[in-house]
């Protein structure tokens, strides 16, 4: 099967006063049709910057995209697309929803206006038809009384309803890929589950592929088919969700999984990863995780491990070559 989206060597750097911040460094991954890929990592590991770089939403900021970077979608490289062609991809080919619905909806426009403007940006539909479609979309995302709510302003809706509206807007032009950047982080736990369920259901129904960005492994376990774990601006491990959870290879993934409280495992104290995420301006040399890694040896300080993207379970760690070095 050919991938829908093929990201290769994506690097995004930000010049700062303390040197260049390598926020995303040589990230490569594929997204297949109808698949959900979970992109997991701590704050500042480059998940969001990866998503923003794919849609070129960092243009106009100081961000610099690497010269070798390509984002192949529908046979073209999005990174060299002309502005108008890029505009047509955004929303209609690849749509994106953001973390906080209270800030990602325009406070001065009604919900209906924000849905119809996206529709009309991509499709040649009349105002009236767009409005009818907007009501249908609100119904689709489970908003009660869609005929009434269509004229509501964002502040008149709860956070969960606002996120449903964002989803309705993102799905209005039936994109083939939906990028959801921490779509439930700003919501109450009970609402989180509803929104995730809604996303999973709509993804099935509309036959979309989804990139789900999150720091919550529980979210990934429930929704994603495959998981890519990011650390220090790089992907450190990619595998099928079940494989990753059952058999994590990278010490970072392993540590993350140990840090999650579980009902089936009596724990007095959760395992923490020693140290902190280093600054993006000064990643450790070679393997970026080595200062916090319990298994690290000389090679990890000197020789940067590579990630093989074509195998079904790719790991950026020398333990793959020297498993006898694993401690404990």
């Amino acid at each position: 099967m050919n991938p829908l989206l093929r990201v290769r060597h994506l690097s995004t750097n930000f010049p700062t006063d303390r040197g260049i911040a390598h926020a995303v460094d040589d990230v490569s991954f594929d997204l297949y049709p109808r698949e959900t890929l979970g992109l997991v990592g701590e704050s500042g590991c480059g998940k969001t910057v990866t998503a923003l770089s794919i849609l070129r939403l960092l243009e106009g900021t100081s961000a610099m995209i690497g010269e070798r970077s390509t984002v192949e979608f529908g046979g073209v490289n999005l990174l060299d697309l002309a502005p108008e062609a890029l505009r047509r991809v955004r929303g209609a080919g690849i749509a994106m929803i953001f973390q906080d619905p209270t800030t990602s909806l325009n406070p001065v426009l009604t919900v209906g206006t924000q849905i119809t403007e996206t529709l009309r940006a991509h499709r040649d539909v009349s105002r009236r038809d767009a409005r009818t479609r907007a009501v249908d979309l609100l119904r689709l995302v489970g908003i009660p009384d869609p005929d009434g709510r269509i004229d509501a302003y964002p502040h008149q809706l709860s956070g969960g309803m606002q996120q449903r509206v964002m989803i309705a807007i993102a799905l209005s032009c039936e994109p083939t890929i939906l990028i959801a950047d921490e779509p439930t982080t700003a919501l109450d736990v009970t609402i989180q589950a509803q929104i995730l369920e809604l996303l999973a259901e709509l993804k099935e129904r509309l036959g979309m592929a989804m990139i789900l960005i999150t720091h919550d492994l529980g979210v990934v376990a429930g929704v994603a088919d495959r998981v890519a774990v990011m650390y220090g601006g790089q992907i450190v491990e990619v595998a099928q969700t079940t494989t990753l959870f059952a058999n994590p290879q990278h010490p970072y993934t392993e540590a993350l999984l140990k840090a999650v409280p579980r009902l089936d495992r009596p724990t007095k104290r959760l395992a923490a990863i020693p140290g902190a995420v280093p600054a993006a301006t000064a990643w450790p040399t070679a393997c970026r995780f080595h200062p916090r890694c319990p298994h690290a040896w000389d090679r990890c300080h000197v020789e940067p491990p590579q990630l093989l993207t074509d195998t079904s379970h790719a790991v950026r760690c020398w333990l793959v070559e020297e498993p006898q070095r694993r401690r404990g």
């Binding site: 955004r90 800030t103 001065v108 426009l109």
Partner: protein, 279 residues
Amino acid sequence: MSMSWLRRLLRHRRTRLGFGLVGALALVAALAPVLTPYDPTTQLDLATGQLLSPSVRHPFGTDFFSRDLLSRVLFGGRISLAVAFLSVFLSVTIGTVVGWVAGMAGGILESITMRLVDAALAIPRIFLLLVVLALWSDLGVMALILILGLTSWFGTSRLVRAEVLSLKEREFVVAARALGIGRLRMFARHVLPNVAGPIIVTATLGMGHMILIEAGISFLGVGIQPPTPSWGNIIREGQELLAAAPWISIFPGIAIVVTVIGFSLIGDGLRDTLDPRAQ
């Protein structure tokens, strides 16, 4: 705009007073042809009608050429208010577009534009106007409006640019970009409504400034040319006769003060209502 918004705006007595003052002046100026008993430029009676003090027949008195001053002040108000309104409209439009383009474009274009604006702002506006007006003589009213408008948008463009820069970072603008909303639509629906508040406030306060500037340059003799009356050139005509016929300068002077105060009160009220930070 909803009713609650209007109610919030009119909550303060000062704002209501401002609307009252400006509304009354605008109404009287608009109805000047109906309200005034005399033509503002007709010399009524050069033999006995010169420099009459205020009376029932001439509530504001007459000037050196025996023209009825009430008629002149009312017709002058039309000119002064119209010139101020149109030039503020022009300047706010240009300032908004330049600020938006600079803010959205960023990079070299923004730097160049904004440094030019800084340079223009560094020159006192009255000197800028005098230089420009000295280059042309016998300007019509439209030309004056153009010149006033074209020399006063610098501040607005800075303001709009700053607002656009902060809006650009707002998540809903990024979200709208991510959904493929075009540039013009982005400006009209996402940027403009969110910068409308500060723009309306500047425009309102700008009305007061513009009336003063028009009065100032007309007073200096390079603005509206006699016999067409404007508040500024009526004051100028009364200047030499200040001791003998003080009413000639006093009445248009009062009109200017009242208008400027009125616009300032409205502007302050609008700022309190439209600026979310002031609430």
